[in-house]
C-alpha cells in the first residue's frame, strides 16, 4: 500500500514541478495576488500587518490623548470624527472602550501574530531549510487569504448599532455575552468573535503546513539539529498554534452562541439583565478557556522572534550561538510550560487560591528556560566581534527589553504581589515591554536582516539606525513610566483618571507617556519610508550581504519561484563562525568541506583526512 502511495505522491509532485516550469505564463493575479509562492505570501502578510500596525497605533493615540488630557478636544482631527465617536472633539466613554478593545485585538491578532508567524514563518522556513516552497503551497495561500476578510469583519463593527466590540481584547463575559440586544442581532462583539475565529483558523492552516514542511522538506543532509534557531522556534510555535488555537476557537464558539443565540454557557443564574436567558453557566469558565490559549499565545508572539534574534546575534557577533542545543530545549521547555501557567491571569478572578499557588509556582518556573535564553544570548555576545548594524541594534534592544518585561512578569507571577498590581498600568507596562520591546523589536530586527533577500535591495543603514534610535528612546519614554503609574494605583481601562482623587498627582506622568507615544508613532514612518525608498532606490543586494551561514543566503540575490539556482546539500550546523583552519570567519552550511570537533571547537581539515576524524 505504501509503495503505491509513494508513487502516486511523487507523480503528484511531478505535476507540480511541471507547473513551476511554466510559472512565467501565470497571469498577474496568480503571481501577485493569489500566489502560492511562500515569499509572495510572506510579503502579503508583511503588508497587511504594517497596515494594521498603523490602524492599531492610531487607536492607541486616541486612548493616550484622552488619558493625558481628559475631556479636552482632540486637536486637528477632533472636529471631523463621526458623531458616534466624539462630541465636540472629545471622545465618548463608549467609544473609549471600543478603542481599547480594538487596539489590543488588532495588535495581537492582526499585527504581532501575522508578522511573527505569517511573515517570518513563510519567508524563513522554506529558504532556511533549503527547499523550493511549503509542503502544501495552496493551503498556505488560503491561510493568508483568510486574514483580510477577518480584518474587514472586525472593522465592520463600526456599522453596527453598538459600534465596535467593547469588552476588551480578552472579551470576558458577561460583558461580551450579554449585550442586551435581541437574538440574532449582529453587534460589534458578534463580529469580533467571528473575526478572531477566522484568524485563528488561518493560523492553524499555516501552522500545520509549517509542521509538515519542517519535517518533510529539509534539504539533503540537514538533520533536525542542523536547523537554525529561527526554524526551530517557528516549528515549535507552529506546534503551540496547532494545539492551543483550537481551544480558543471552542471558547469563541460558545461565546458566539451566548451572544447571538442567547445560550448561557458563560452566564450564571440570577444575572439581572433585560433579556431572557436560562442561566447555569460560569463566567470564569471562559477565562480558563481563553487563557489556556492566550498564555501560550504570548509565546506564539515571542518565540519566533527569539529564534530570529539568535540568528541575527550570531551573525553580527561573528560567533557560534552559545549553547545551541540548550537554546532548542529552552524553546521547547517554554512551549511546554506555557500550557500550564494560564491561571496567573486569574489570581483575582475568584478562582480557588490553592490553584492560584499552583499557577504561581509553574509560572515562576518558566523564568528558568527564559533565563537560559538570555544568558546564552549574552554568552554569544561575549568577546564577539560585534557589528552594530540596524538588525543587530534591534536584536540587542529585544534582549534588554525582554529582560525588563520578563522581570516585571515575575513580579506579577507571585500572587500576593499581583493582588496589588493586577489590572493596573503595571500590567500594561509589562505587556508592552514584552510585546513591543520584545516582539516588535524582534520583528524589526528580522525585517532589517532579511530585507535584502526579500526585495533584492539593501535597506538604508543610516535611516535604519535613526529609526532604531528614535524607536528605542520614545518606546522607553512611553512605557517605562507606566510601571510607576501602575504602582501608583492607576487602573487599566479607565476613561478619565481625574475622577479619582488619588490619581490626580499622576497627571504629569500621563502627559509624558502621551508625548512619548505620539513620537513613537511618528518614528515608525521612518521604517515605512525606508522600506519603500529602498525598494526602488536601494543598493542592489549581494547574495550573502552579512556573510552568514544559513541556507537562505545560498539563494540568488532576489530569488524567484522555486528559490534556489543550485543543488543544496547541508554539510554542517548553522553557526560555524571563526572556524580554525579557514580563511573566512564564516562557513556556510552548503559549502563542501570536512572538519573535526575537538573540545567543542570545530577545526577545518582537508577532505582526505576525514577518516582520522577524532573527538
Amino acid at each position: 500500500m505504501s509503495t503505491s502511495t509513494l508513487q502516486h505522491g511523487s507523480a503528484a509532485e511531478h505535476g507540480h514541478d511541471h507547473e513551476h516550469g511554466h510559472h512565467h505564463d501565470l497571469p498577474w493575479y496568480r503571481k501577485y495576488v493569489f500566489s502560492t509562492d511562500h515569499k509572495v505570501i510572506s510579503k502579503q502578510f508583511m503588508l497587511s500587518s504594517l497596515f494594521f500596525l498603523f490602524v492599531g497605533g492610531a487607536f492607541a493615540l486616541f486612548i493616550r490623548w484622552q488619558l493625558a488630557y481628559p475631556g479636552q478636544a482632540i486637536p486637528i482631527i477632533g472636529d471631523i470624527l463621526p458623531a458616534s465617536w466624539a462630541t465636540n472633539g472629545v471622545i465618548s466613554p463608549e467609544f473609549y472602550a471600543q478603542l481599547l478593545t480594538m487596539h489590543g485585538s488588532i495588535m495581537i491578532f492582526f499585527v504581532i501574530i501575522p508578522f511573527a508567524v505569517g511573515m517570518f514563518g513563510n519567508f524563513c522556513i522554506p529558504l532556511m531549510i533549503g527547499t523550493d516552497d511549503m509542503a502544501l503551497p495552496k493551503l498556505n495561500m488560503w491561510s493568508f487569504w483568510l486574514v483580510p476578510p477577518a480584518g474587514l469583519i472586525m472593522m465592520a463593527g463600526f456599522f453596527t448599532e453598538t459600534g465596535y466590540a467593547a469588552a476588551g481584547w480578552t472579551s470576558y463575559p458577561p460583558l461580551s455575552a450579554q449585550t442586551g440586544l435581541a437574538k440574532f442581532t449582529i453587534s460589534g462583539q458578534t463580529l469580533w468573535t467571528i473575526s478572531v475565529f477566522l484568524v485563528g483558523f488561518s493560523s492553524i492552516m499555516g501552522a500545520v503546513n509549517y509542521v509538515a514542511t519542517v519535517l518533510n522538506k529539509r534539504a539533503k543532509g540537514m538533520k533536525l539539529f542542523d536547523m537554525p534557531l529561527t526554524v526551530w522556534a517557528l516549528f515549535i510555535t507552529a506546534i503551540i498554534i496547532t494545539l492551543g488555537t483550537p481551544v480558543l476557537a471552542a471558547g469563541l464558539a460558545m461565546l458566539f452562541m451566548d451572544n447571538f443565540l442567547h445560550t448561557s454557557f458563560f452566564l450564571p443564574d440570577n444575572l439581572v439583565t433585560n433579556s431572557k436567558y436560562f442561566g447555569g453557566g460560569q463566567p470564569i469558565l471562559f477565562q480558563h478557556v481563553f487563557w489556556f490559549y492566550s498564555h501560550p499565545a504570548v509565546y506564539i508572539m515571542i518565540l519566533p522572534l527569539m529564534g530570529i534574534v539568535s540568528d541575527v546575534m550570531a551573525t553580527f557577533s561573528r560567533k557560534p550561538i552559545y549553547g545551541y542545543k540548550a537554546m532548542v530545549f529552552a524553546i521547547a521547555g517554554i512551549a511546554f510550560l506555557g500550557f500550564i501557567v494560564w491561571g496567573h491571569h486569574m489570581f483575582q478572578s475568584g478562582m480557588n487560591p490553592l490553584l492560584g499557588t499552583t499557577f504561581m509556582l509553574s509560572t515562576i518556573v518558566i523564568a528558568v528556560p527564559s533565563s537560559i535564553k538570555v544568558f546564552n544570548w549574552l554568552g554569544t555576545l561575549w568577546r564577539g566581534n560585534i557589528q552594530f548594524s540596524s538588525a543587530m541594534l534591534n536584536a540587542l534592544a529585544f534582549v534588554s527589553m525582554f529582560i525588563i518585561g520578563g522581570l516585571s512578569g515575575v513580579f506579577m507571577a507571585s500572587a500576593p504581589v499581583d493582588i496589588y498590581i493586577h489590572d493596573t498600568y503595571f500590567i500594561v507596562a509589562h505587556i508592552h515591554y514584552v510585546l513591543f520591546g520584545g516582539s516588535l523589536f524582534g520583528i524589526f530586527a528580522g525585517i532589517y536582516y532579511w530585507y535584502p533577500k526579500m526585495f533584492g535591495k539593501m535597506l538604508n543603514e543610516t535611516w535604519g539606525r535613526r529609526h532604531f534610535f528614535w524607536t528605542f528612546v520614545t518606546f522607553n519614554l512611553t512605557f517605562f513610566p507606566m510601571h510607576i503609574l501602575g504602582i501608583g494605583g492607576h487602573m487599566r481601562r479607565i476613561y478619565d483618571p481625574n475622577v479619582y482623587d488619588f490619581l490626580k498627582g499622576l497627571g504629569g506622568i500621563n502627559e509624558t507617556v502621551t508625548i512619548g507615544a505620539i513620537a513613537l508613532g511618528f518614528s515608525q514612518l521612518i521604517l515605512v519610508g525606508n522600506i519603500l525608498w529602498s525598494m526602488k532606490w536601494g543598493k542592489k543586494a549581494p547574495r550573502n550581504p552579512w556573510k552568514a551561514n544559513t541556507l537562505e543566503w545560498a539563494a540568488p540575490e532576489h530569488p524567484g519561484h522555486g528559490n534556489f539556482d543550485m543543488d543544496i546539500t547541508v554539510y554542517r550546523g548553522p553557526y560555524e563562525f571563526g572556524v580554525e583552519g579557514r580563511q573566512d570567519d564564516y562557513w556556510p552550511q552548503w559549502e563542501k568541506g570536512a572538519s573535526v570537533t575537538v573540545h567543542h571547537h570545530t577545526i577545518a581539515v582537508a577532505d582526505d583526512t576525514k577518516t582520522f576524524g577524532a573527538h
Binding site: 509513494l6 518533510n216 454557557f265
Partner: protein, 199 residues
C-alpha cells in the same frame, strides 16, 4: 526551475506531506473538541440535575442508529481507499458512494432529532431550553458541520472518478479517510457523553 535540482526530494519522514499535515490538523481538531468536553465536564458538575433531566429527554435509540451508520461509513471509506489503490475504479465508486450515503443518513436522522427538539421547545431561546441543550446543540452541531465538511470533498472525488482514468490521487483519498475516521471517533465520544451517561 526546481525540477532539475535536488530540492524537491521524497518526503524526509516517508509520509506524504498532505497526510502529515492532516495528522497535525487532527491533533488540532482534537483540542477543539476537548475545549467543548472540558466545558461540558465543568458545567455538568455544577448543573447535575439539569443535565440528568436533559439527557433523559434524548433518544438514545436514534443516536445508536447513527453510531452504526457512521461506523459503517468509516468502513466503506476504508474499502474505497483499498480498491482505489488497486485501481478498481468501479468498487471505489461503489464504496465512496456508500460512504457519502452514510453521511446523508446520519444527517437525516439528526434532522429528525432536531425537529423533535424544536417541537418540544428545546432550542436556544425557547421555553424549555436548558444549559444541557446548549451543549447538545453545540456539540452535535459542530459535529454535523464536520460531517458536511467531509462529504463535500468526498462527493468531489466521486465525481472526478467518472472522468478519464478514474480518480488519480489515492493519497488524497487516504488523507480524507483519516479525517472521516476522526469525525466518526468524535461521535463515539459525543454519543455517550450526551445520550448514555445518566448521572
Amino acid at each position: 526551475m526546481s525540477s532539475a535540482l535536488n530540492l524537491s526530494h521524497e518526503p524526509v519522514t516517508k509520509i506524504a506531506s498532505g497526510k502529515l499535515t492532516m495528522w497535525a490538523f487532527l491533533a488540532s481538531e482534537l483540542m477543539f473538541f476537548s475545549g467543548f468536553f472540558g466545558a461540558f465536564i465543568v458545567l455538568r458538575n455544577s448543573n447535575y440535575e439539569v443535565f440528568k433531566a436533559g439527557s433523559e429527554q434524548l433518544s438514545w435509540v436514534l443516536a445508536l442508529v447513527n453510531t452504526f451508520i457512521l461506523i459503517g461509513s468509516s468502513l466503506t471509506m476504508a474499502l474505497a481507499i483499498y480498491h482505489l489503490e488497486r485501481q478498481n475504479t468501479k468498487l471505489f465508486r461503489a464504496f465512496m458512494g456508500l460512504s457519502i450515503l452514510g453521511g446523508f443518513g446520519f444527517l437525516i436522522v439528526k434532522y429528525f432529532e432536531y425537529s423533535a427538539k424544536y417541537h418540544h421547545h428545546l432550542f436556544p431561546g425557547q421555553e424549555e431550553h436548558t444549559i444541557f441543550f446548549s451543549f447538545y446543540f453545540l456539540m452535535t452541531g459542530f459535529h454535523a458541520m464536520h460531517v458536511i465538511g467531509g462529504m463535500i470533498p468526498m462527493a468531489y472525488m466521486l465525481f472526478r472518478s467518472y472522468g478519464k482514468g478514474g480518480y488519480p490521487y489515492p493519497v488524497k483519498v487516504e488523507t480524507l479517510g483519516l479525517y472521516w475516521h476522526f469525525v466518526d471517533l468524535m461521535w463515539i465520544f459525543i454519543f455517550p457523553a450526551l445520550y448514555l451517561i445518566f448521572p
